[in-house]
Amino acid sequence: MLDLLKTLCCMDGPSGAEDVVREFIRSHAAHFADDIRTDAMGNLMVFRKGIKHPAKPVMLCAHMDEVGFIIKRITNEGMLKFGFTGGVDPRVALGRAVRFGQVKGIVGIKAVHLTTASEREHMPKTKDLYIDIGVTSKDEALAKVQPGDYGTFDSDIVEFGDGLLKAKAIDDRFGCAVLLALLRDKPPLDTWFVFTVQEEAGLRGAATAAFALRPDLCLVVEGTTAADLAEVPPHKQVCALGKGAVIPFMDGRTIYDEGLFDMLRQAAETQDIPWQTKHMIAGGTDAGRIHMACAGARTVGLAVPVRYIHSPVSTAALSDMRDVYALARAFLEGIAQSIE
């Protein structure tokens, strides 16, 4: 699963331009799928028959998109004015390398020598940022990129520290990797493996996927904010790397199903899988759409804690990834056991 995750993180799929990721997942899933569908939004829905055949298949969900950039305008000097697709923290964009396909660029910030003291104390506004691809005229730039082109951070994979992985897009290629890994084995029950688009743009893809599939039960596999940093007070740390899978009870968009939450917690405790929950009610996942789709669906989540999420240096612990995978598997087994 780790190799799969690394491959997925190196692919570019900002919200609205997930095509490369979708085609990769489709080609990997095809061998195991009993049915594959896409929809107008670009979601990928993969069905695999399981050992048991309940009235309705269970749904697993992860999103393919990542936070990124879109070119809005090109200046006469050949600089790219851009917007963020998804919630990029503009503070981490300054001075970073980005890419639009093969075309590399950097988010510029003038030399410190040319700043005033008060400028250095205030972050620049997003509308004042620009990307430099090395050219010096609009025509030169237009030969390389166009307004409307999507881009991502240009960030490699690093394993470092005590079993940590740094990459862009761990949120949520990790979830995609878990689903693809689970898909390789015949699931305990009929299962839809759903890879959504545009989660970062406002949980857009999950709305149509859930409407089409009308699940009764759904598990969303995600990356979630960890703020277990030195000098951050404990009540603001949210969750911590290396402390196990996060089973959220509530976030900004969803109160997760109590019964399913208990089932996951008990599975973790009986199988000795480290787990934690989120100590801050914030953010949202595709669950926010799915649990409200049609007549509603019982929805639960699992997440890997990620430091510096939505940045080129998002960082997660390999041990937490294994724990989430084990609990996702336990989820399918638990649901299968409960239907006789």
């Binding site: 300054l94 030399a111 205030h122 390389k144 940045s311």
Partner: protein, 343 residues
């Protein structure tokens, strides 16, 4: 090996001001085939000497600084986070989420840690975090790091469009490359002056490497090859120069006017693109110290236009490095030891 590959290797050398010895050993190897002899002094300044066949010839010193801006670990916290201080001037606003290398015996990867934005009030997000409040995340519960360990940006070289590259420490590895390229074009036996190529330590703090080196070399002429600001949308137009506009030739009290004008004549004669950079006082370069080292030198500054100085993504156009190298080589080939002030 092509130009970008050499630049990539030069930029990868760790050489925070005060910690240049490892980088010095490597650049000495590049210099070896191009000069008669190479020395490395106690500061880590590398000097290569080219002796011309003319007895009693004058000496021209070519200087580019070897050191780079960076950081130094000031405190090791219990949970694997490191407090740090800058070595050389950096803008704190581009440090959050920045990847760094901690230069322990076996280098350690680190990230300048950053609070998630949703845990901050919007007024807090608008404010820059001061460097003394920042921490490096090593991901290690017990990092074997001692206070005083240097830290550098990790950003590898990125090839941009239009013959431009972005990397850490192009300030002043681009200058080193320009000097190496110039030396490659020179035939020692055809020279009428001796040439000393110097890659000096600690420019970013005190210029001690260049001043001590100039004192030792006793040059009649010295050229500081450094970088200067190229225009960007957020920078004041009056203080920046054309990116891709060619080598910048400095003028002002720190520079010998006759020397500067001679360089301009060479540029015109060889059809080399150049721009005039007027600096009315302290140039903030090695030239400031070298000019008054010992009995003093006739000083010049050649600068390569560079964007985003002192960030991990300093950006230069290769054509500007070429223009700088070609001007140095063109000048030295014809130079008999006297400069003239006429236009």
């Amino acid at each position: 090996m092509n130009q970008i590959e050499i630049l990539e290797q030069l930029c990868a050398l760790p050489g925070v001001a005060g910690f240049e010895h490892e980088a010095a050993a490597t650049v000495a190897k590049y210099l070896h085939p191009l000069v008669n002899k190479v020395d490395i002094d106690s500061f880590g300044t590398v000097t290569g000497t080219l002796i011309c066949p003319v007895a009693g010839a004058k000496t021209v010193l070519l200087d580019a600084h070897l050191d780079q801006i960076g950081f130094v670990v000031t405190k090791v916290l219990e949970n694997g986070f490191l407090r740090f201080a800058p070595v050389g001037g950096v803008d704190p606003r581009m440090l959050l989420g920045c990847e760094v290398t901690i230069l322990t015996q076996k280098p350690i990867y680190g990230i300048v840690s950053c609070m998630p934005p949703h845990l901050l009030k919007s007024s807090e997000q608008e404010k820059a975090v001061p460097i003394h409040e920042m921490l490096i995340d090593t991901g290690l519960s017990h990092p074997q790091v001692s206070v005083g360990t240097p830290v550098v940006f990790r950003q590898p070289l990125v090839e941009l469009s239009g013959g431009a590259v972005a990397s850490k420490c192009l300030d002043d590895r681009a200058g080193i490359l320009a000097i190496l390229q110039a030396l490659e074009q020179i035939d020692r036996k055809m020279l009428h002056v001796n040439v000393v190529a110097m890659f000096s330590a600690q420019e970013e703090v005190t210029s001690v490497g260049a001043t001590a080196g100039a004192f030792r070399a006793k040059p009649d002429y010295a050229i500081a090859v450094d970088v200067s600001h190229a225009s960007t949308p957020d920078a004041p137009a009056g203080e920046t120069f054309d990116f891709g506009g060619g080598v910048m030739i400095g003028m002002g009290p720190n520079m010998n006017t006759a020397f500067a004008k001679s360089l301009m004549r060479t540029a015109r004669a060889h059809d080399i693109a150049y721009q005039i950079e007027v600096m009315e006082g302290n140039t903030g370069t090695n030239a400031w110290g070298m000019q008054i080292a010992g009995y003093g030198t006739a000083q010049a500054i050649l600068s390569i236009p560079l964007r985003y100085m002192h960030t991990p993504v300093e950006t230069v156009k290769l054509s500007d490095i070429d223009a700088t190298a070609n001007l140095i080589a063109g000048f030295l080939k014809d130079f008999h030891g006297e400069v003239y002030p006429y236009a």
